[in-house]
């Protein structure tokens, strides 16, 4: 197996780590960088719990090799809050009850970050389509969708 030095930016911080070719991005984040906010769920690219942003775009980290992100910027759920100040999506998921067990939440929030960056005022239908790569197995989706619409409102008024 070949090993590779990965130089990337994770949550704004430059990282340089030697990894084997077969290291998944999800394992790189969790086991090498100890950023365990990113969850491993189905491990077959179905559930979206492992969603992170790669150069600002949502991807499933169980479906990427760490070597594929060399030279690129990753944002995980740990990178959203500014100090004690939660990201509006994090706050909104709490305020609207957009989670129950919370396992899918980091993935939901990261997918929503991408959605709202491209479409700051989505309709309910657009939110649902934007979450079509993410599964929740406990709450159902109504409050998740409400959380995102509520966050969109908050972010638009903040600007």
């Amino acid at each position: 197996m070949s090993t590779h030095r990965i130089e990337c930016t994770v949550n704004g911080e430059a990282r340089s780590v030697e990894v084997p070719a077969g290291r998944l991005l999800s394992d790189f984040l969790r086991d090498d960088l100890h950023l365990t906010g990113t969850k491993r769920g189905c491990e077959t690219a179905t559930c979206g719990a492992c969603t992170v942003l790669l150069d600002g775009e949502a991807v499933k980290s169980c479906l990427l090799l760490a070597v594929q992100v060399n030279g690129r910027a990753i944002t995980t759920i740990e990178g959203l809050a500014k100090g004690e100040q939660l990201h509006p999506l994090q706050q909104s998921f709490m305020d609207c009850g957009g989670l129950q067990c919370g396992y899918c939440t980091p993935g939901m929030i990261m997918a929503s970050c991408d959605l709202l960056a491209n479409n700051p005022r989505p309709t309910v239908e657009e939110v649902r389509r934007g979450l079509s790569g993410n599964l929740c197995r406990c709450t159902g989706y109504t409050q998740i969708v409400e959380s995102i619409l509520h966050a969109a409102d908050a972010m638009n008024h903040g600007n």
Partner: protein, 294 residues
């Protein structure tokens, strides 16, 4: 996942040389990696070498020329295709198709070239590209060759790629004036991302009868197919709801559907009939309730 060597060539020739040198090994080419990673993680394939295309600039970019048509680099992701202003303007059916592939995360990673080389029938792009009369350019140390998409797609998960060749780009000719297209599909459930039926229809609408008709069916058949009998039936005619239903019946009769856990051949044939009829009605702005079989 089994251990492997990861290689990143920076040119088509270098990639081709690597593929030729490793012909006796278990080698896999990686574009975005969405399909490959799944098959590797499930140990359906256990390559000794993975050759990434990501650093080959020749495989990038989308360009449009009114005479030549569209050039789509093989590494173009579904999200890039959906968001491309020239694609949206000149081939709206292609942008609309790309916007529906799988889910947002996969569209941000998966590539058009990777999709075509994998040869999975239950995806959106192949039938859409077939109706748009697409061709593919294949590259190796021996140079480049261009072939129609229907020659490239040989069989279920099988393409015409030689062992040392890679897919460089997809080419789509310009659509003649007045020619429009629609891509439609049927999902077994709203949450499923793999179409059970895909139908792509291209036709010219100006004047009395329709012209330049191309119908392609995918996802229900081992490889996407042009439906030449139904095309001939519509060609030159003024299309009404009854003719749309006749053409849909003919398509349903002509296909040899897949039959698997996602749908029996009979179910697929029925759904193909429905989607073809509705697609023709939509393109020709007919009510889908007219001419429906009783």
């Amino acid at each position: 996942m089994r251990d492997f060597e990861y290689l990143e060539p920076t040119s088509v020739a270098e990639a081709s040389r690597l593929l030729a040198a490793l012909e006796d090994d278990e080698v896999r080419v990686m574009a975005g990696g969405t399909a490959l990673m799944l098959t590797m993680r499930q140990r359906m394939v256990q390559p000794s070498h993975v050759i990434s295309m990501a650093r080959i600039d020749r495989l990038q970019g989308i360009e449009f020329d009114p005479q030549q048509g569209l050039r789509i680099g093989a590494l173009t992701r579904h999200a890039d295709l959906a968001a491309s202003p020239v694609v949206q303007r000149h081939y709206p059916m292609l942008a609309s198709m790309a916007e529906r592939v799988a889910n947002p995360q996969v569209r941000n990673q998966g590539t058009l070239g990777g999709n075509l080389c994998y040869g999975d029938p239950s995806t959106d792009p192949p039938s859409c590209l077939l109706a748009l009369d697409a061709a593919v350019v294949l590259g190796s140390t021996r140079g480049e060759r261009c072939m129609p998409l229907d020659e490239f797609i040989v069989d279920y998960f099988e393409t015409a790629l030689e062992p040392d060749e890679i897919l460089v780009e997809v080419r789509i000719p310009p659509l003649p004036p007045g020619v429009k297209g629609i891509y439609s599909r049927f999902l077994r459930t709203a949450a499923e991302h793999r179409p059970l039926v895909s139908v792509a229809l291209v036709a010219g609408l100006d004047g009395g009868g329709c012209h330049d008709v191309r119908i392609a069916v995918g996802a229900s058949t081992p490889i996407p197919c042009r439906m030449k009998n139904a095309e001939a039936m519509l060609q030159g005619r003024r299309v009404d709801a009854a003719l749309a239903a006749q053409a849909a019946d003919l398509v349903a009769q002509d296909i040899e559907p897949l039959s698997d856990s996602r749908g029996s051949a009979e179910f697929r044939r029925d759904m193909v009939r429905v989607v073809v009829r509705r697609t023709i009605c939509e393109l020709f702005e007919l009510s889908i309730d007219e001419g429906r079989a009783p």
